[in-house]
Symmetry: C2
Subunit: 319 residues, 2 copies
């Protein structure tokens, strides 16, 4: 009936996406506690912090302390976020503890780059070329591209599939100019425009042109379609997803308008388990980490399974 | 790529499912205000109240006042819920204002009937036969069956597809014993066990055996899969869904464990719109009704689109 993958790789984005948005400061040791709990769930990739201007994002002024304080577990990759060369250089100090993916960062919406980063496309391509050089100077692999606003943009509307494909082609061109081969493209639905239909269409178009390129999907749940979009991706055989423990990363239930966090990690794990797709993640441990996340932020988070309970647990109670 | 229907019929369950669960009493005129607002959205079916024992469900002690007070709009069907013959007889007093569906009520899980209604299967079948007679005595069509616990049960576990098919066969047998033909089966995922996989398998099995039987799907969002399940149903061509404005019908965000409400009506409408499937419902008006529902219950409700906003609105702001 469909082409579900056997195994799905999940990249946990909760610590980075979720903790900077909270109104009150979150103590460094609590951030570390969450990362350490996530390390014990079986998840293999965790984005742990942002190396950004502490004046602009005070919530990540303690990025260095988090990276040095967290317990690095073998087999788990810890990823930083950075937004410019200065941030990347800060992160590179910890390259014995951190993993660097996505040397290239593009946007499928030019207007988003203009509004969000105050850059035009040409200037951004120069920046990406420079970043590729920094990666190569530091012996890091240049094999991935992250594409923002991959499905739609609040400033530009729907992204035509051919425009997204052209953006991927641009990334490949940048890599090839440095004798590098991209093996991975991450499609980020930054402003929650994706629907199951556009997911299938987009994945289909990329796979038709570059069959060996591994696709990663990153959805936000602002319009409630997060898990339906993940399911559409699974139906297309996509085996790599970003998600956020407890749905950290936005305050959809705090009574104000605004973007929600990523799809919820433990809900994605539950969906995969029920479909017979392995994740390597212990669902009950991830639920515990989700409860810890709620405790840390001090308010309810949107994840469902942490409230409704897994079916595996119900089944074992019946038997 | 899939077999999406052109038009989907939505049955709004919010007033009945949602308002009885609230801890504080909700004034009759507020219930009527919500029903009246829903009547203006384009939705064609609204379940408005329960005729149940007011000692057991005090929240519906005012069922008579709601039915007589609500504004009946042409083209909209207003449905009551009842759980026994006494309740049905009370509802029948208002048959000029109400529509009666689902003469037969079965459970795919025998243990659920035992636990929930303190009946065994045999006794329940006698009750259903009696209810069919009451329908016929009152000149009502006996053409639908509602099956509870269609996908799984907290007391019995997963429902094997063949067991569900046997339950549908039992309903058809009851109808045929009274020279009636069932045209509609409503599969209720009472305890939120459905997954996109089981939805497809179940719908496929029923359709294979009874190709002309119209299937209705009723999901709860307790485990976050509500919209993914609706999407799976749409992919199978199912064109009839129950849902609840704002996701009324449970308190998943009130900090305690428990069942969530039905899938959220305006989120289902949004999904359908984005997939090019018509619902006849004005999404912005449904969002207004969702905000009214939040105002009535006095706490945030789980719907997403009422917080994140529709893409149609964003698109028109861009152009």
């Amino acid at each position: 009936m469909s082409d579900l993958p056997k195994f799905v790789e999940i990249c946990e984005k909760g610590p980075r996406e979720g903790l900077q948005i909270e109104p009150g400061p979150i103590a460094t040791d609590r951030k570390i506690a969450l990362i350490d709990a996530l390390s014990e769930t079986g998840v293999r990739q965790i984005q742990v912090c942002s190396f950004v201007n502490p004046k602009k994002v005070p919530g990540w002024a303690d990025a260095d302390d988090v990276v040095t304080g967290m317990r690095v577990r073998e087999g788990v990759s810890y990823l930083p976020l950075w937004l410019n060369e200065r941030g990347l250089m800060r992160a590179l100090q910890y390259r014995n503890r951190l993993t660097f993916k996505d040397a290239i960062l593009l946007s499928a919406s030019e207007r988003f780059i203009e509004r969000n980063q105050n850059q035009n496309t040409e200037k951004n391509i120069a920046i990406q070329n420079r970043q590729v050089e920094v990666f190569l100077e530091n012996g890091l692999a240049v094999d991935g591209v992250l594409i923002m606003a991959a499905f739609g943009c609040n400033f530009a509307g729907d992204i035509p599939t051919e425009h997204l494909v052209a953006t991927v082609a641009k990334a490949i061109e940048i890599a090839e100019a440095h004798q590098c081969t991209l093996t991975r493209v991450s499609l980020n639905d930054t402003m929650a425009w994706a629907t199951p239909d556009t997911v299938k269409r987009t994945v289909g178009a990329i796979r038709e042109r570059w069959p060996s390129l591994r696709i990663n999907l990153h959805f936000h749940n602002t319009r409630g379609l997060g898990l339906a979009n993940v399911y559409a991706g699974l139906e297309m055989g996509v085996d790599s997803y970003d998600s956020s423990v407890a749905g950290l990363g936005g305050c959809p239930f705090a009574g104000h308008q605004g973007a929600a966090g990523n799809v919820c990690t433990e809900d994605v794990v539950f969906l995969c388990e029920e479909l017979g797709v392995e994740t390597g993640i212990d669902l009950e441990r991830m639920i515990e980490a989700a409860r810890l996340a709620e405790d840390i932020v001090g308010h309810p988070l949107p994840g469902s399974i942490m409230k409704g309970g897994s079916l595996a647990r119900l089944r074992s109670a019946i038997r």
